[in-house]
């Protein structure tokens, strides 16, 4: 079964950090990310994942009455923003939950598991 694992977190917390502090934190959490990537590759060699640029850089596009309307920033003003995502094929939901819990930012943010519709 294919699942999208959506990584939500408070990106403004990152944005507020000094450059050196952000680098230090990243280095600190790196071993755990590497463990995650290893586990994910073991469970599904075809796993795909990407980190997204901060939601504050996002453009929102809508078509209103045939007119293209482009605005800045995330659509909804929530504290937790989508910061990245994985798409991976796993045997079942329990395995998806196990993998999701290995994502380091699950401790400060949250992981949303969404099965992918297969047709």
């Amino acid at each position: 079964m294919r699942y999208a694992l959506l990584v939500y977190g408070d990106q403004s917390a990152w944005a507020g950090l000094e450059g050196a502090e952000a680098t230090r934190r990243r280095a600190e959490s790196m071993p755990r990310w590497l463990t995650l990537f290893e586990e994910m590759a073991k469970a599904d060699p075809g796993v795909a994942g990407r980190e997204l640029v901060a939601a504050s850089e996002a453009k929102v596009v809508r078509v209103v009455d045939g007119e293209r309307v482009v605005t800045d920033g995330p659509f909804a003003e929530t504290k937790e923003q989508l910061g990245g995502l994985f798409v991976t094929t796993l045997p079942d939901l329990d395995e998806a939950i196990r993998i999701a819990a290995l994502v380091p930012t699950a401790e400060t943010g949250s992981l949303e598991i969404r099965p992918v519709v297969e047709r």
Partner: protein, 411 residues
């Protein structure tokens, strides 16, 4: 063969057959449909041709063949060949000994009680798939229309499929929490039949009996789990008081005022026996401790000892409800002041009628009638249960009559 005998076979064989088909097909809805077909066929054949030598194997084999028919008729071709190939593993021998077929019922239980399902969906699925209850029976027990319950079941089965909820026994690292989820579902089924007093009494009695039957099955499937035994003991001991807790006029009768000759002695004996077995594991847990409290009441243990068991219960289950019960136990054991202080320091129970009812009772015992009346009114505002309302109203009226009369705490 008589209808009840047939029904007994059906109830026994239903979860076994559904579990086998569901494991092989990986689809609970399809499994259930095939087994349902097989049972319909049995109902037509058995009374005419006699019960087969191995009813379980007959059901599984027939369900397998019905599943093949159903899959062949399906319009979407994608999964056809794969599903048909999977069904090959099931024996076609109608006379096979059913005990040689691997028992997947435990996996079925865990699937039906998966935490990714809504609680009411878990309850409905468990009763349908593990209990083998018909949809209309479950609907009656939960006082909802049959189409509503059918919808709930369809949605739950769709969710199993769409989210990839696995059909298997959970791995060791999550097993304890998943066992706790299963026990909770069975406890909720029992409570639905026990606590609520609206609806058909016979239907509710059946629901309690079903919860006990399922708890017994779980004890067989999880023989090394003392909490499963603890839950079974608790259900038996609570059920033993069923006839004493509602008066002939429909009024609620508190434990202390119950006619003990109405308690079911056999059920108490069974409950105590199961509790001893659970305790022999020396791994106490919330259900065993609640059963120990129920056992204490059944055996007439003094209230101070019972209050001490509540201390142990709060240590493993520090939830506000457990702490409320402990506070009441301490008060009933003679220390109403301490009990009241403990009730007052509880947080997060403002919307829980029993908290206010308990507080009112303690204030009444302490002779603080005005405050007691206020708490009874708060409790009344929070409950719709008719016998409970009448009980609270009666207490409130008595307060007015006795005025400032100071009643001695009992016990």
């Amino acid at each position: 063969m008589t209808a009840p005998a047939l029904e007994a076979i059906f109830r026994e064989e239903w979860p076994r057959a559904v579990a086998i088909l569901a494991r092989v097909l990986g689809d609970l809805a399809l499994a259930e449909d095939a087994v349902q077909d097989a049972f319909a066929k049995a109902l037509e054949r058995w009374p005419r041709d006699g019960t087969p030598r191995s009813p379980g194997a007959w059901i599984v084999t027939t369900a397998r063949n019905r599943a093949i028919d159903r899959i062949r008729r399906e319009r979407t071709f994608a999964r056809k060949a794969e599903l048909l190939a999977r069904l090959e593993v099931i024996s076609t021998d109608e006379d096979a000994d059913v005990s040689t077929i691997p028992d997947d019922r435990l996996a079925l239980v865990f699937t039906c009680c998966h935490p990714a399902l809504a609680v009411d969906a878990r309850i409905a699925l468990t009763l349908r798939e593990v209990g083998g209850l018909a949809t209309n029976g479950i609907a009656r027990a939960f006082l909802v229309a049959e189409p509503t319950m059918a919808q709930r079941l369809v949605r739950a089965k769709r969710r199993l499929r769409e989210t990839g909820i696995p059909f298997r026994i959970p791995p060791d690292e999550v097993l304890p929490e998943r066992v706790a989820d299963v026990l909770r579902v069975l406890y909720l089924v029992f409570n639905e039949g026990y606590a609520a007093t609206t609806g058909d009494e016979l239907v509710r009695r059946d629901l309690c009996a079903e919860a006990i039957r399922l708890a017994k099955l779980l004890c067989v499937l999880l023989p090394d789990e003392p909490e499963a035994l603890g839950l079974l003991a608790l259900l038996l001991l609570q059920d033993s008081r069923r006839d004493a807790r509602i008066a002939p006029d429909g009024e609620l009768v508190l434990l202390a005022d119950q006619d003990r000759s109405l308690w079911d002695r056999d059920e108490i004996g069974e409950g105590l026996h199961v509790l001893r077995r659970a305790e022999s594991f020396r791994r106490p847990g919330p259900y065993q401790l609640q059963a120990a409290i129920a056992a204490g009441h059944a055996e007439g243990t003094d209230l101070a000892t019972i209050a001490a068991v509540y201390d142990a219960l709060v240590a493993v289950d520090p939830s506000p409800v457990a702490r409320l019960n402990r506070a009441v136990a301490i008060a009933l054991a003679g220390d109403a002041e301490t009990g009241l202080a403990l009730v007052d320091e509880l947080e997060g129970l403002d919307g829980y009628p029993y908290r206010h009812a308990a507080r009112a009772d303690l204030l009444r015992r302490l002779g603080r009638a005005e405050e007691a009346a206020e708490s009874y009114r708060t409790a009344l505002a929070l409950t719709d249960n008719a016998p409970e309302r009448r009980f609270l109203e009666r207490r409130l009226a008595e307060l007015g009559r006795s005025g400032e009369h100071r009643e001695q705490p009992s016990g």
